[in-house]
């Protein structure tokens, strides 16, 4: 670890401030000299990318709020005014609208990376749990944000999701009325959703702060999942990873820009271009794509309360992941069975997403149930068991001198040690 003394800053003003409020020392230590494993692959970009996405959402949101009117009689019209009359209003709104999807894409890839490379394992359990909390807050924020344009999908999405709470015995009905501030989703609901939608992102920022603070205690995991053994295994965060994150960020922004400028309504539902009508439900109610897997789980359970519990459980279960996985080996690279099951989980979640987009009839119901079953099976049964049964591949000695390279591809079964030594690939 590179320790810095206050005298090392060249600029006298910086020295003066730092002696009284050591922000420069902090930045120097946490973002510049911070020793980081040198073997990251591009999956490690997504934490930084998600942070930028969050900032973009907050920035565009602040400017949208200057023109948006949180009133059920005026909300839809005010959005149209933003699109037509406010200077660059269309751009700001489309960035915000597609930004939600882009933020979720980045975070989902970030979560996948965490699972695949075992980043949740000791000593990073709290880091992981804070991340799950961020995901949960994001979902709440996104849901409330989707209500604000006050289109048909906004209104009926709000109705359906708030009604989930009516599943709870005894207090359910009272909770729903309390959430609505009335006897249906209406102006009071819209007002409080706007207030909370404005508040929650800043809470997310705070939790992200904790997430990063926790990360800087344990240091980053890496694709090999083994701890750095010394300075030869690490590089300072700046410039090595600031520049590498910038590359990933640029590519991300290109994808983002293509959606915003050339397919701004790709992720949106045509029904939300119809003003909310409490007297008529659209033929198909679907949430935004990033919530579809949970929605599929909800609908796969024939019991109302059961479905609600399973849906919340599917997120809640992630909090316990560090203890459900019993294997001491982090990276899926060295866990042949786990690796297969994780990819299967990815497909499983994609299938759930597809199921969530369709009316629950015929084979979709069966597909939904099978996929739901695997989701819970993976976390509750397979993970604890394979941790004990699986025979991991031999781990390399260190990040910079891996003695035993990972075996490529297929197989699936545990492989005996003694694979020929290969030079470690550069990240």
């Amino acid at each position: 670890m590179v320790g810095l003394h206050k005298g090392e800053f060249q600029n006298s003003l910086v020295r003066w401030i730092d002696a009284r409020l050591p922000v420069f020392t902090l930045m120097q230590k946490e973002y510049s000299a911070f020793p980081t494993p040198k073997n990251f692959n591009y999956f490690w970009n997504f934490g930084a990318i998600a942070t930028v996405a969050l900032l973009i959402m907050i920035l565009t949101g602040i400017f949208l709020a200057m023109n948006y009117v949180p009133n059920s009689a005026l909300a839809f019209e005010s959005v149209q005014r933003i699109m037509r009359d406010v200077n660059y209003g269309w751009l700001i709104r489309y960035v915000h609208m597609n930004g939600a999807s882009m933020f979720f894409i980045a975070v989902y890839i970030h979560i996948f990376r965490g699972i695949y490379y075992g980043s949740y394992k000791t000593p990073r359990e709290l880091l992981w749990m804070l991340g799950v909390l961020i995901l949960f807050l994001m979902m709440a924020t996104a849901f409330m944000g989707y209500v604000l344009p006050w289109g048909q999908m906004s209104y009926w999405g709000a109705t359906v999701i708030t009604n989930l709470f009516s599943a709870f015995p005894l207090v359910g009905k009272a909770i729903v009325t309390w959430l609505w501030g009335g006897f249906s989703v209406d102006n009071p609901t819209l007002n409080r959703f706007f207030s909370l939608h404005y508040l929650l992102p800043f809470i997310i920022v705070a939790v992200v702060g904790l997430h990063v603070a926790a990360l800087h205690v344990s240091g980053s995991n890496n694709p090999l999942g083994i701890d750095p053994k010394g300075p030869q295994d690490t590089v300072p965060f700046h410039p090595y990873y600031t520049i590498k994150d910038s590359v990933g960020l640029c590519v991300f922004l290109i994808v983002f820009a293509i959606f915003v400028f050339f397919a701004p309504n790709f992720f949106s539902n045509p029904d939300n271009s119809i003003p909310a009508n409490p007297m008529m439900t659209p033929p198909e109610i679907v949430p935004e794509w990033y919530l579809l897997p949970y929605y599929a789980i909800l609908r796969s359970v024939p019991n109302k309360l059961g479905g609600v519990l399973m849906m919340f459980g599917s997120i809640f279960i992630l909090f316990f992941l560090p203890w459900l996985d019993t294997s001491p080996v982090r990276s899926a690279k060295f866990r042949p069975i786990f690796r297969q099951l994780v990819w299967l989980l990815v497909i499983d979640v994609l299938v759930l997403g597809e199921v969530g987009a369709h009316r629950p009839e015929g084979l979709w119901i069966i597909a939904g149930r099978v996929a739901t079953a695997y989701y819970f099976l993976f976390f509750l049964v397979l993970l604890p068991i394979i941790g004990k049964l699986e025979r991991p591949l031999p781990l390399p000695e260190s990040i910079s001198r891996p003695v035993l390279g990972p075996r490529s591809g297929g197989g699936g079964g545990p492989v005996a040690g003694g694979a020929p030594a290969k030079p470690m690939e550069k990240a």
Partner: protein, 185 residues
């Protein structure tokens, strides 16, 4: 870019190449940030619907001599006063060197319509609305308008005669559609 890549194995000149590349990349990123900032800043400028509401028509026929009305234009009060012959004469005869913000009365009315004075009713000091448009209002020592906030006084041409206001009442763009109708904006 190609050049930078091809030199990656040459140790000499590494620092300068990197510095130059870093400079160009950093500058480009800054340009990008600036381009992002502009739409956000511009979104706070008046929007198209605000700009479109720029004109209002006023019928002058019902305004008796010596009295005025206040109409709203772009969210601001506009004074329209029907001046008496005596008021017009007073306004025209003032020595320009006596004025804080010298301007002849003829520059402040439309030719042939000297009985009509049209003013933005915002004191040029700190933005209060001066009194004097209603018959019951105090009009100050010069028979025009009197600002209750800090005591500025204006004459019947809307020219400031007593501080602290630094300038005459502004005149909105307007045209006579016919003898009894004007369009402001």
């Amino acid at each position: 870019m190609a050049e930078a890549l091809s030199t990656s194995t040459v140790p000499h000149g590494e620092t300068t190449k990197r510095d130059f590349l870093a400079l160009v990349t950093g500058a480009s990123a800054l340009v990008g940030l600036g381009a992002i900032a502009w739409p956000l800043i511009d979104s706070m400028n008046p929007s198209k619907d605000v700009l479109a509401l720029g004109s209002v028509e006023v019928n002058l026929a019902p305004i008796p001599e010596g009295q005025g009305i206040t109409v709203m234009w772009r969210g601001k009060p506009v004074f329209v006063r029907h001046r008496t012959a005596k008021e017009i004469k007073e306004a025209e005869d003032v020595q320009l060197n006596q004025l804080i913000d010298p301007q002849p009365d003829s520059d402040r009315v439309k030719p042939g319509h000297a009985q009509w004075i049209v003013l933005i009713g915002i004191c040029t000091h700190l933005g209060c609305v001066p009194l004097g448009n209603k018959p019951t209002d105090p009009r100050g020592n010069w028979g025009g308008w009197f600002c209750p906030c800090h005591g500025s006084q204006y004459d019947t041409s809307g020219r400031v005669r007593h501080g602290p206001a630094p300038a005459n009442l502004a005149i909105p763009p307007y045209t006579f559609l016919d003898n009894t109708k004007i369009k402001i904006g």
